[in-house]
């Protein structure tokens, strides 16, 4: 409907003419007024950490007092060093940084998150989480719809850096009609100079004409995509070149850790003031059907160290109030370990929300190990309830519109 571009063109920003303002926009203004003084919604960043392959929730948030846990996990159980949260539950021994955040009241854990009629396929279940629809499918992602909403209400800066994914692909939860950037490095995100030619005049400008002409010339299915993508790429690269490139990490990120590199890139993007609203990073390798323990231990160690450095870095730049981290995985694992010292696909698992904006604590209910469904946990909190809580409580967006339904709002976030 209205994009920021339209508002700017028509000189309307930020004056609205009464009844012509869409209702969603009016809601946005109303809630913004009641917002915390530290960070206006447009300054806030949500960082999504995908634990791809199906994280073993029972070996992440561990019911260490439950005999059924020990019986189901003869080789995989964590007997030693569990970081206790209360007299029933504790964090995996390698989550020391997250435990420190818990102690500081900056870690919220939602227990037993899942959805009805769980799908045990990686791809079907990922699609459910990515689209926030139990049908899954190839539509816009749930955060893509948030970006579309920002554009619609004129909240969008309308450049390619609002949605950022560390890596070479745009993840489905960011699929949208607004530009989203897959980013591998801020420094190399540009068209490299062509020997003896001025990049902009002799190369970029002609290419822009070529791509525009191709879009017009016949029913090429990718003509418009190629044209828009080149425009976004060059526009974003110019913005990056003009940016203060003086970012210095204020924490030591672990070496040889892809998740740490990804989070450092996200930190750099946030610190550089590029207008990022939603960022996505992926840590893969959780599909451990065999010999799970050493692999899972290492994954959680990498995750913990990378997140700890990331939070320290942002705090060091005075940006801790503006950033919320949320983890998700397509499913948890089977309660009973299999014969290969691994676990097969399961269902419910905990989600972590990390950062100064959260109200630390445990939310929802830990699923019972005594009442299983085909060997799998019964979920106790719908994942869309967590999404709704973040959309409404943190991003000040109309959760029920964006999720296509009303879900319980959990008090996960500071007012």
């Amino acid at each position: 409907m209205f994009s920021r571009r339209d508002f700017i063109k028509q000189g309307l920003l930020p004056v609205f003419a009464g009844s012509a303002v869409p209702t969603v926009f009016a809601n946005g203004v109303a809630t913004a007024a009641a917002d915390s003084p530290n960070a206006t919604p447009s300054d806030r960043v949500l960082v999504l950490v995908q634990l791809a392959g199906g994280n073993d929730g029972l070996n992440t948030l561990i019911p260490f007092q439950d005999g059924a846990y020990h019986d189901a996990r003869p080789t995989l159980r964590q007997d030693q060093g569990v970081l206790t949260l209360n007299n029933q539950l504790g964090l995996h021994p390698n989550l020391k940084g997250l435990k420190a955040s818990w102690d500081a009241g900056q870690l919220a854990i939602v227990q037993g998150v899942g959805y009805p009629n769980p799908n045990l396929s990686h791809f079907a279940s990922m699609s459910v989480w990515e689209t926030a629809s139990v049908q899954g499918g190839i539509g816009d992602g749930w955060l893509g719809r948030y970006l579309n909403y920002l554009d619609k209400v004129g909240e969008s800066a309308n450049h390619a850096l609002e949605g950022v994914s560390a890596g070479s692909l745009v993840p489905p939860e960011l699929r949208s009609t607004t530009p989203v950037l897959a980013l591998q490095s801020l420094k190399t995100f540009r068209l490299q100079p062509v020997t003896e030619h001025g990049t902009q005049v002799e190369v970029e400008n002609p290419l822009m004409k070529f791509y525009g002409a191709f879009k017009s010339s016949g029913p090429a299915p990718f003509g418009a995509l190629l044209d828009t993508t080149l425009q976004e790429a060059l526009q974003a690269s110019h913005a990056l070149l003009a940016t203060d490139a003086s970012y210095q990490a204020k924490a030591t990120y672990p070496a040889n850790s892809p998740i740490a590199s990804s989070l450092k890139l996200v930190a750099e993007t946030i610190v550089s003031g590029l207008g990022v609203r939603v960022a996505h990073v992926t840590l893969g390798g959780f599909d451990n059907h065999a010999r799970e323990k050493p692999v899972h231990d290492k994954l959680l160690l990498d995750l913990d160290q990378a997140l700890t450095a990331f939070m320290q870095d942002l705090q060091g730049h005075g940006l801790g109030d503006r950033v919320l981290v949320m983890t998700w995985s397509e499913f948890g694992r089977r309660v009973k370990e299999n014969g290969s010292a691994g676990t097969d696909h399961g269902t419910a698992a905990p989600m972590f929300l990390l950062g100064a904006p959260v109200k630390g604590g445990l939310y929802g209910q830990q699923p019972s190990l005594a009442a299983l469904d085909n060997g799998n946990l019964k979920f106790t909190t719908d994942f869309r309830s967590v999404y709704a809580s973040v959309l409404q409580g943190y991003l000040n967006a109309p959760a029920s519109d964006l999720l296509g339904g009303n879900y319980e709002i959990l008090p996960l976030l500071k007012a």
Binding site: V180, L183, G218, L225, N338
Partner: protein, 460 residues
């Protein structure tokens, strides 16, 4: 209908452009709008170039000349009957890799080796089918070792156009697959569901045609095949059957009961109509265009079932279809990084270091050979195009042309675009390239880069 649509679009565009543009800009735009580039397939040279982009990794000018001289029918036969084409020239140039070489086989070495095959093979379809199988029956270096991935790659090449049941039986015992989907741990009394699930969800029927019990019973059936474990696990390139690991008890799978083995499961899955339609749809989407019409899928699934599950018969049928040469098919696929890099290296030439550098340059474009993002393979299509991958595609073209700057043959712009993009460019691009050539006479590398950076070249 079409004429009205084009005229309507042109009128709309004119109305938009009229404000503040001079007449020449408007005329340029109208020229692009009315450029009927999809009529290009009426030329046999373009049809054969299209065939070679799809059945292989496109062609050099000399290769294209040779296939055009054969004509479409003979060229297609030659591609399909590739076993009759000697490949000794390629074999003589490839670096030696020993599948028994354990840790001496590196990821970088096998990636450069495969890329060189794609560029230099005399049997393009053999290599293209190997890439198809790698994207469907996935394994990856995140779990499997390089020597194992190399061994699996040979299997895909050997069985490129054979019977699907034979290939699936072999893949279940393939060391890379056994590590990637954990069948090496799958033992009597300790079934592991990983392979059993993906075999149905991704390799055969697709989701919705089996139950969780079928997954569990299938896993029991596949027990028995294993690898030498421990430190050797990722280097072992020969699987073995250990009878005491096999669960020989009764299993009930998809309504049938028996002492099934893994081969028995394959023989029950491959004849299913869902398998025939899924594989046929995948093959057509890979070679022709995505989301094929139902009647095309039915026809190809019939071909598959009537030929006793022969993949070559399906591929042959695809290349014979009008739909394959339709305007809907022309430039309807985004070049995968493998296709883009291989065709670019055909255009620039390469040395051994060039193959290694090019294989590494594929990562930021979104495709690392032998390392698919997950068991579903590469998502392809629009996912190859985002602002980051597009810049990397253009930067690779720049690096590849500059690397070979001193060695590039002098070719006219028309020769270049004839080979690279069927000589079929929008008028604006055509004129823009000619202006570049006129302004920078003698800069062959710069001109080749500009041709490789066109939107037309990004598509297949």
């Amino acid at each position: 209908m079409l004429a009205t649509g084009a005229a309507g679009a042109a009128a709309t565009a004119l109305a938009v452009l009229w404000k503040g543009n001079d007449l020449s800009q408007i005329l340029d735009h109208v020229r692009d709008l009315t450029h009927g580039y999809q009529g290009a397939l009426s030329s046999e040279r373009v049809r054969i170039a299209h065939l070679l982009r799809r059945a292989g990794f496109a062609a050099t000018q000399a290769e294209l000349d040779r296939y055009v001289a054969m004509g479409t029918t003979a060229a297609t036969q030659s591609l399909l009957n590739f076993q009759q084409t000697p490949n000794s020239q390629l074999d003589g140039q490839l670096p030696a890799i020993d599948p028994m070489g354990g840790k001496t086989v590196t990821a970088a070495a096998i990636q450069a080796w495969w890329l060189q095959r794609m560029v230099q093979t005399a049997r393009p379809l053999e290599e293209k089918m190997t890439l198809f199988w790698h994207g469907l029956l996935t394994s990856g270096l995140d779990k499997s070792g390089p020597a194992q991935m190399f061994t699996q790659n040979q299997l895909f090449r050997q069985m490129a156009l054979g019977n699907f049941d034979d290939l699936l039986k072999a893949v279940a015992k393939d060391p890379a697959m056994m590590v990637y989907l954990d069948t090496e741990t799958n033992r009597k009394g300790k079934p592991n569901e990983n392979y059993a699930r993906e075999l149905m969800e991704l390799f055969t029927t697709g989701i919705g045609h089996y139950t969780e019990t079928d997954v569990q019973e299938s896993a029991r059936s596949f027990t028995g095949w294993t690898l030498r474990g421990g430190a050797q696990l990722r280097f072992d390139t020969q699987s073995l059957f250990v009878a005491r690991y096999h669960d020989s008890g009764q299993k009930t799978f998809m309504g049938k009961t028996g002492n099934f083995t893994g081969d028995d499961i394959v023989e029950m899955l491959v004849p299913l109509r869902a398998t025939a339609e899924r594989l046929s749809g995948r093959l057509f989407s890979f070679f022709a265009y995505p989301n094929p019409e139902a009647d095309i899928v039915h026809h190809l699934a019939d071909t598959f079932q009537n030929s006793r599950y022969n993949v070559g018969a399906v591929v042959k049928e695809i290349f014979a279809m009008d739909a394959f040469y339709s305007t809907k098919a022309y430039r309807s696929l985004v070049k995968s990084p493998a296709e883009l890099v291989a065709q670019t290296l055909k255009a620039t030439g390469s040395n051994a270091k060039g193959y290694t550098a090019a294989a590494a340059a594929m990562a930021p474009m979104g495709q690392v050979l032998f390392y698919p993002p997950n068991v579903a393979g590469w998502p392809a299509g629009t996912s190859w195009v985002n602002s980051s991958t597009l810049l990397n595609r253009l930067n690779f073209a720049n690096a590849a042309t500059q690397r070979m700057r001193a060695l590039l043959p002098q070719q006219s712009l028309d020769q270049l675009t004839s080979t690279l993009v069927d000589g079929n460019l929008s008028p604006t691009t055509h004129d823009g390239l000619h202006a570049f050539a006129a302004a920078h006479a003698g800069d062959q590398a710069g001109l080749l880069f500009m041709a490789l950076a066109t939107p037309e070249y990004q598509l297949n």
